[in-house]
Symmetry: D2
Subunit: 341 residues, 4 copies
């Protein structure tokens, strides 16, 4: 069965594997101090136009989020997130495991706004409550939506006014930045956040997330933090080599564009068949609402997940495309859906 389950079912783009094979017998320094990690960091710094950034390569999204957030907050401070946010729902309490509350705020579309955050600040009036201190957003969000430049600017200014950190989870930043609706660049994000990460795992790497730290206070001693949480890879060059290749000549964005292109075909096809969507996602995660009977049959030929129960007879499923998604399978999915409808 062909899988639209997620964007991490396959290994890595062949060029990344080739780079690993080519460097395999080199003797590299350990723990991320190797030349490949340095070269990858240099490429990213150039791309985001922040030579002052510190860049660390970690292994996965939950790990990156917990290390970054725990490095910033004092014990009584909390992270603010959309109630659908990954740190709130899908990290098995990893942030709380570092001692910090996640303040979960309902949103219409998975995106925080200054007004939503402000309401949270106003409700936290004194030392009997946690102190909201870090705003966590992700682009794209858990339900596939993206932040426009104006959205991010508004949050950025609000955070500066209220002395809040702004942290962006970029597990699917590739798809966000290359989707049609997007008007953000990496360099904008680097101007407006204290830290963010560029996701490799969900964009064609074997593994690896590039954490970009802009806030000088967060930079200090960050390698201690990595080691303290078991997040410092002995063979750090494994991630370094892949990110070097991802950002050598735009491969990262090429792969992201492919997954968006595949998602676009799916989205348009499903819409033409008369189905609506749970969220208005322009990225590589789609949430069509389908009759349960149709889903039962689709599941005999394709892998994907049931996400949200809509009513007794309808469910929003999640379809995810990746750098490796085959266009033929996308068309086969649409044909199957048409046939079942």
């Amino acid at each position: 069965m062909y899988s639209f389950n997620n964007d991490y079912s396959e290994g890595a783009h062949p060029r990344l594997l080739e780079a690993l094979v080519n460097a395999n017998l080199e003797q590299n320094d350990g723990y991320g101090l190797d030349v490949h990690s340095q070269a990858a960091a240099a490429s990213i710094k150039k791309l985001i136009r922040r030579e002052d950034a510190d860049i660390h390569f970690l292994v996965g999204g939950t790990q990156t989020n917990l290390v970054a957030i725990a490095s910033l907050l004092r014990p009584f401070q909390a992270a603010v997130a959309a109630s659908t946010g990954h740190i709130n729902v899908h990290e098995t309490g990893a942030i709380e495991g570092t001692g910090h509350k996640v303040l979960a705020l309902p949103t219409p579309d998975g995106k925080l706004t200054p007004a939503i955050i402000d309401e949270c600040l106003k409700a936290h009036t004194d030392e009997h409550m946690v102190q909201p201190k870090l705003v966590y957003i992700s682009d794209s969000t858990e339900i596939g939506t993206v932040y426009k430049k104006a959205d991010l600017e508004a949050i950025h200014h609000f955070c500066r006014q209220h002395d809040l950190y702004l942290y962006l989870d970029g597990a699917r930043l590739g798809s966000a930045l290359t989707c049609e609706e997007n008007d953000l660049e990496l360099s904008d994000i680097a101007q407006m956040t204290d830290a963010f990460y560029i996701g490799g795992t969900k964009n064609g790497a074997l593994l690896g997330e590039a954490l970009v730290i802009l806030n000088p206070a967060m930079k200090a001693d960050f390698r201690f933090m990595l080691k303290n949480r078991g997040a410092m890879l002995a063979k750090g060059f494994i991630a370094g080599i892949q990110f070097e290749e991802l950002f050598r000549d735009g491969l990262f964005f090429e792969m992201a564009s492919h997954e968006n292109e595949m998602a676009k075909i799916l989205r348009n096809g499903i819409r033409e068949l008369g189905y609506s969507f749970y969220s208005d996602s322009p990225t590589n995660q789609l949430f069509p609402i389908l009759p349960n009977g149709v889903i039962d049959k689709l599941e005999q030929e394709f892998l994907f997940s049931r996400q949200y129960v809509i009513d007794d007879t309808h469910t929003a499923v999640r379809l995810v495309t990746s750098w490796a998604t085959k266009e033929t399978e996308v068309h086969r999915f649409l044909e199957t859906l048409k046939r079942l409808g």
Copy 2:
């Protein structure tokens, strides 16, 4: 410069890379639920003769130690380790970061014994002190020594008598089990510990440690624990594929034997040149005591680390061999040392 700095300077054994390349476009289940991880686990269970074991693949040693230990201990319980133990010295407080004290006990040779542990138990008399509950050992130890079967049996029985968990850090278990002094088998360890891990990172894998859980109470809900600490790899099959290959036909032990063989040539050669050693290591880490002047010159041709200051004019350095160590470089090191002596 050729490096004897550690056993994780190179990538992976070519067969492991080949396996990754071959499986690259497969669609695998995420989070360690794939067929390769299952096959690797099955091989290991057979090898250790414990079909009831639970096996999880993690990314690195510090991560594996902290997840395993935190899963076992209640808040007021402590891990007992040799004062030279990795969790005590070289993990940046990762165990304490999970809330648990490490009780560090001096040892003559990096190895715990029932007598040493018993002294610690006797000093912890009541609820005003932590409760020693888990014994942490590593094989080989931080200074290259190994546990004999009788050593491990003695600790095992002591732990059962005193209701202590026994956990073995096998970051360099390959080298330990294939060294000349060894009389332990993997299956012995699986009979005598509550959990242990088989290190891949330091034995020819790109990354990966196979955590073997024998204690039924520890098995329960362990995947929650993994995720809670950011230790669940999205593309878990990356580790699974490598361990499948490592244990398909003995490659794991072949590589370990090679590193021991290289260490043996080094050890004998250095000894013949009249130098003594900081510890009596039969494994792939050697700690020869050299005059500082000789070290200065060696450092112009080889990479290795200065480990322990012996006196004003002598230092114990650390030389580490790996699956990839070239015999020609071993001989060149010895010739250089001879020339400098």
Copy 3:
């Protein structure tokens, strides 16, 4: 100005102070091992008809909650609470500070029900999410409501069915158990929970909460847990002496009855003046909804807190009565309100 701010503005009932004075020059064992603590525990065990209970005296509510909950949960497990619950809102992230998420569930009246908890369980499907494991309720609740016997039985059975711990925060248990609406006895609570505490601080003691542990697994080594969190009082007899007196002949319930009586006069008086209430509280916390202009003037003569904004011109204030509340002041408050209305 007379204060209806809370039920911990005054010191202790004179009989408690007298008992402290009388025992002052005794030499007592430290850390709660003294004869007074034992006598107090014996009285409580008899009252709750559970000779097997373990009873510990702690200093305050937040401390008691965090020690109790942290002693029960494994790292990836979460507490379930009403979104208005004290541990969710008013403990500055103390539970999260021990590493555990609080799953906050909206309720109509501050009370959890099996249906509400069940929805939470159903939403937590796998190891990518925390594992709900402990149900936290308080009686009376944060908004003054109480659990009926049938309510508690329903939750108790649900928890047993789903292998959840049930923990009851009794900061204001005195008021709850002596209010007119109540049909629960202490012995019922002791049959239906894994642990609960009887609040002294808010019921006439200088300080002190009696934590009653029924679950055998939680009893084990609990004194280590106390000490580990800084919750073991050196002069534990200070709390012991007070609880001995509180439960010698019903003083605890007498004081609670007084505060309920004072609250009843207030409640009826306010209602007669035509005002409604934010919640239907039969206990010593009342939340009348008053016009802001009236509140401004009341604040010139009485201390109390503004709690919930109802609309642009109305606010629900909080009035709390205590063991020490003077009936004359209650009447003066009502007269003042009448005059201002």
Copy 4:
């Protein structure tokens, strides 16, 4: 049996109880914001000549240590303590419970020195080890010794040079500052530390430790920290009233002088009987080394603890005097010892 077990066997100095009784029916603000806590803080600030200090009243020593230290350290940072230090041995891992390693350094007399700390710093070379960041000392120490002014100055300068925090545990600061060997004043300590606490529990209060914060960074939001750890007393005025009385006219020092005076009689008497001491303590804890046979008989008339096994036939016991110790009992102890010797 008369007890020399500790200095917290009795209640409080009668003047403190009287003050509590006198203020009992006042309505005071909660959580330490009352006028008594403010007056007590004002007295202390005047005494230490630091109007800029922030002063908080906590309930016990372990609690105070863990809140203070956790408020200062980042996750990968460690506290440095004498291996005999209270936080290392007698707090059941409370500091590790907040996530921080305690680096335990052997000392000849329970006192840290710049040389001892420096050795620790030099051994911690990089991010693979914790970062020593806070120096924990206590005055008097666990074995009764005291810091001279020159000792403290040396540590103070060392800490400033190396960017370390200096924190002083003053559980028995009264006894230290009033002993004959002492040449420190409270105001010296306030000039040389980042924070310290003045112990009330072990110096005649029912409970209470006055935490004095000098470091501006530590002051910020400290009340959040208190609440987050369950260390904010609802009836904070209980501690405030007592400290107000303790520092109204020197009662704190009077009581400490009494306990030192009683200890002096004991010390001289024991010495005259030909016994030696485990440590050279000028304060209220004495550690005479006695034959086990003598101890067996003494235990039939007095309570005290066996502390350190010296050899097969001798043990160092611990005798502690307090504000309430009766001189007649001191003499009776000496006579009994004489008779048994």
